[in-house]
Amino acid sequence: MTMTKKANEIKASEINESTPWQEMTIGGEIYEGGTSALVNTGEWRTMIPIFHEEKCNHCMLCVPFCPDSSIPVENGKRKDFDLMHCKGCGICFKVCAHKAISYEKVGA
């Protein structure tokens, strides 16, 4: 007999398509937050924003407009894009008043 884990010990990163039901949590529950960060939605992109740090004055206007929480901020500075999650919608490119973001075809 295999040792079964308590539900709150099962991590999202351990569950996949071949996990037997005995090793899943009951009722579709999950006991940790923000596990979607494990999912690569960056591969959806057909367009990509490029960050030009030298032109950025860190006004942060782009940050709240990002639907994919893909513009990290640290110590008053906006950092380069989180390209694992950015879907390339281009909203940031349009709201940037300093031309610090360009918007290009993926692989162009």
Partner: protein, 309 residues
């Protein structure tokens, strides 16, 4: 304390990437903006009506939420949020919970204006200490752009297709924000995404930290259903407020307050022409449709100005 976007975006993210909402989705921007208004030390229980947000932000075992999250059904987000809040009050009284929790329900316009309306109305009337946020994208986007009672007149939806028989949706949009204000609850507001998010943030903060039931209606454009390029969302929102199609106002303890008056009120076609769902209104012979929309918007705007006097 005065609003500072720089300080706000420094807070830890409570709605993380990797969710499966479409590129450029307005619902995600709404959620991030509301969750950002929580104090970092406060916890939240999020209740979500069925809809795009629900099917895309929790796909077992991947949740985009850092806070506790419940989905039950389309029609009962208000009741679920109210139930959790009532349980929390009892547990807190008994000393079994010490932390501060806030209760936030999210629903699309389908789950709010239509299907979840009775449970929302009930929860508001019972006076639960909850916030209900409607991310209003003006149709059932999740199932393929069917009209809802929030869809504006003349919009081309899959159940009200614009053609030779009907010119898009025959009816006007329901004014849900006014209906919620009529519940006599302490705080009701209407906002969208503008500039540095000051208006949005202050309303979300007031909604969360006002005791009792509060309601926030956020225009959250949908690039698929409204048919515009994903990158244009900021422009669409700005045009919605500058044409007075979506005025920004709040109702605090029954007192109506206008939060934004456009310097120059733009004609409605500036807003309509940006979106594919209204394209047929620009065909020759369709001028009357634009006139009808302008008349309706003007009437609503005058009525709002009178309420806000």
């Amino acid at each position: 304390m005065a609003y500072s976007l720089k300080q706000q975006v420094e807070k830890p993210e409570r709605f993380v990437g990797g969710h499966r909402l479409c590129a450029g989705c307005g619902a995600a921007i709404t959620v991030r903006g509301v969750m950002r208004a929580l104090k970092p030390e406060d916890k939240a229980v999020v209740v979500n009506a069925t809809g795009c947000l629900e099917v895309s932000s929790f796909l077992y075992p991947y949740t985009a939420w850092e806070d506790s999250y419940i989905h039950s059904a389309f029609e009962n987000a208000g009741a679920t949020a109210g139930g959790v809040e009532a349980a929390y009050r009892v547990l807190k009284k008994k000393g079994k919970v010490n932390e501060t929790f806030k209760f936030i329900a999210f629903g699309g316009d389908g789950g709010t204006y239509d299907i979840g309306f009775q449970s929302l109305s009930g929860a508001m009337e019972r006076g639960h200490d909850i916030v209900y946020v409607c991310y209003d994208n003006e149709a059932y986007m999740n199932t393929g752009v069917q009209r809802s009672s929030s869809t504006p007149r003349f919009a081309d939806a899959t159940t009200t297709p614009a053609g030779s028989i009907i010119p898009g949706k025959p009816q006007n949009k329901k004014d849900l924000t006014a209906i919620m204000a009529a519940h006599g609850i302490p705080y009701v507001a209407q906002t969208t995404f503008l500039g540095n998010f000051k208006d949005f943030h202050e309303k979300a903060e007031k909604a969360i930290y006002t005791e009792g039931p509060t309601f926030l209606n956020v225009m959250s454009p949908c690039p698929r259903g409204w048919r515009y390029e994903t990158e244009d969302i900021a422009e669409i929102c700005k045009l919605a407020v500058d044409t007075c199609v979506w005025p920004l106002f709040e109702v605090v303890d029954g007192v109506w307050k206008l939060n934004y008056e456009p310097r120059k009120k733009l004609p409605v076609e500036e807003y309509l022409k940006k979106q594919g769902r209204f394209r047929h209104m620009f065909n020759p012979g369709s001028e009357w449709m634009i006139e009808e929309v302008q008349k309706h918007v003007d009437k609503k705007w005058e009525a709002l100005l009178n309420k806000c006097k």
